[in-house]
Amino acid sequence: MRRYIWIILILVVGCAPWTQVGGLYKNESYNFSVELPQGWMRWNKGEHLFITRDGVSLQYIQIGRTKIEDPLKHTKKKFSKGMLPQEAAEVYLDNIASNSNILNLEVIENTPATINGIPGFKAVYTHKNKDGLKLKSIHYGFMVGDWFYSINYHAAQRYYFEKDLKAFERVVESFKLIKTA
């Protein structure tokens, strides 16, 4: 009987959508590794990395990648190989600006940035959601081969944004591509 309970427990834990994380995290299918902050929860569905500490409406960090030639959701513009980081930032931010869910968008910063030695961009903006909550986001983006990578931090502007900003910057600093070829 006890053996069955253990099997059920293992299965239940294995299927849980959220797992507590911390330390080195490797995502072989997306070809990157990062150091995750202690005590955050990772969403197990989907291949991109998605973590939060207090809940997704309060803050989250997301790392993902898309094929350069893939269409974007809100703009017909596309990334293309050989784009300068500023051009990539332009496409990326226009995709956000064309999203009707993003209200009162205000871009505060759009500057060059280097991520794992690769030239890219850093964009910071604020916006409101439909409930009127003001949110602040930082997006790092860069292109490698056929892929566009983004590392995003998204939090309620009041209290939460500043609280976890350092944790996010440490994640960005620790970001490494597993295979660089």
Partner: protein, 392 residues
């Protein structure tokens, strides 16, 4: 228990039987209970829209649009329904009115109009929906109202192009009027009464079908797929046919009237430019270009517009586009050498083409004209690379 059941059935039956034959607001009347509730709900939905950041802020334009609205209705109607026109920053061909007279018009449809007579056609059509109490009539026709209201936005959630999100934002009543439209009969009434209003205000009735023919041609050429009433081919065709029939019938001797094209275009020129910006952000290059070409007919010597055409071609970057872009940037510089963005555009293209000396000069000029530019760090980096003689 039986009694409660009976009362419930009675209420249901009465609600189902509520009349859809309501006199227009132009006569002596009183609002009915369900109508008052619709007004309250309208106010709630408007609060969400107004604080969302989608409102296009231009005081002068707002005053102008509301003056046109005032010409269309007698003052006694305004005492019952305080009409107010508000512009929404959105590229879609859409306009809708709430029963309390608050009329939202998208920059997308406003930018496509040519004159005040066309504007008055649209305003008068929408205002008739309010004065003739079409939403209450429609609402009384729908049996399961609550379920309907809660599913309107959800259903539209699956529609692409940000339309689902927009529908959620404008609320169920706004969506009802702007997406599904009213019955053919009520829309025809809005066309007919609207035409009467615009003619009474002195506008040229021949402009009424032209507006919708123009919109229809636009969606055909651009192969646009929009769910909104004024962006849907069959609904526009209905409008064209209705107005043409009225012109052949009771208005056959009524030709000529005010168009006020110049005043109108002067008042909306910023809308055309800003709407083209939205189109460019969304990657609708051809539509953005058409918008700017229209803008240039109003402001032919505006360096912003020439530079903007340069931006369209630079970002589209198809064969031969970069040379076209350079031409537009140069034109902007020839009109106003102190307009910074044109220098940046030139510098950007030179930089990508490996013309380091020219790139450095243009980018340097941009920074000297716009020392606090947000993209200063990028530009300094390009200049540094030019100095180092590195290839981009």
């Amino acid at each position: 228990m039986k009694f409660i059941g009976f009362v419930f059935l009675l209420c249901f039956a009465l609600a189902g039987c509520a009349t859809t034959s309501l006199p227009p607001v132009t006569q002596d009347f009183r609002f009915e209970e369900d109508e008052k509730r619709l007004w309250l709900r309208s106010e709630e939905e408007q609060k969400v829209i107004n604080r969302s950041g989608v409102i296009y802020r231009d005081k002068e334009l707002e005053v102008y649009l509301n003056e046109i609205a005032k010409k269309l209705q007698p003052p006694e109607v305004f005492t019952h329904i305080p009409f107010k026109v508000i512009v929404i920053k959105n590229h879609l061909l859409n306009a809708f009115i709430y029963p309390n007279g608050v009329l939202y018009i998208h920059t997308g449809i406003l930018a496509k109009m040519d004159n005040e007579a066309q504007l008055s056609t649209l305003l008068a059509h929408e205002m008739t929906h309010a004065t003739h109490r079409h939403l209450v009539k429609l609402f009384r026709d729908i049996k399961n109202k609550t379920a309907f209201l809660s599913t309107v936005s959800v259903t539209l959630g699956g529609v692409g192009g940000g339309i689902g999100e927009l529908a959620t934002l404008i609320g169920a009543l706004g969506t009802l009027g702007s997406v599904t439209g009213y019955s053919r009969e009520l829309e025809t009434e809005a066309d007919m009464e609207g035409l009467k209003l615009m003619v009474k205000a002195g506008y040229d009735p021949e402009e009424a079908p032209k507006l919708f023919t123009h919109l229809k041609k636009g969606i055909e050429e651009e192969k646009k797929k929009e769910p909104f009433f004024f962006g849907t081919h069959p609904r526009l065709q209905e409008r064209v046919e209705n107005y043409e029939n009225f012109l052949k019938g009771q208005y056959k001797d009524k030709r000529g009237g005010t168009m006020n094209s110049e005043i109108f275009l002067e008042k909306i020129h910023k809308v055309i430019l800003d709407n083209s910006r939205l189109d460019l952000k969304a990657g609708r290059f051809n539509i953005a270009e058409r918008g700017i070409e229209k803008y240039l007919t109003i402001k032919p010597n505006d360096p912003k517009a020439h530079c903007f055409l340069g931006e369209i071609y630079r970002q589209k970057a198809e064969k031969g586009d970069l040379e076209k872009a350079k031409g537009y940037y140069q034109k902007a510089i020839s009109i106003d050498p102190s307009y910074p963005d044109a220098h940046k555009g030139m510098g950007f293209i030179y930089f990508k083409q490996g013309e380091k000396g020219l790139a450095k000069k243009s980018l340097g000029q941009y920074l000297s004209l716009s020392p606090q530019a947000m993209d200063k760090a990028y530009i300094e980096e390009y200049i540094k690379q030019c100095n180092e003689g590195e290839k981009p």
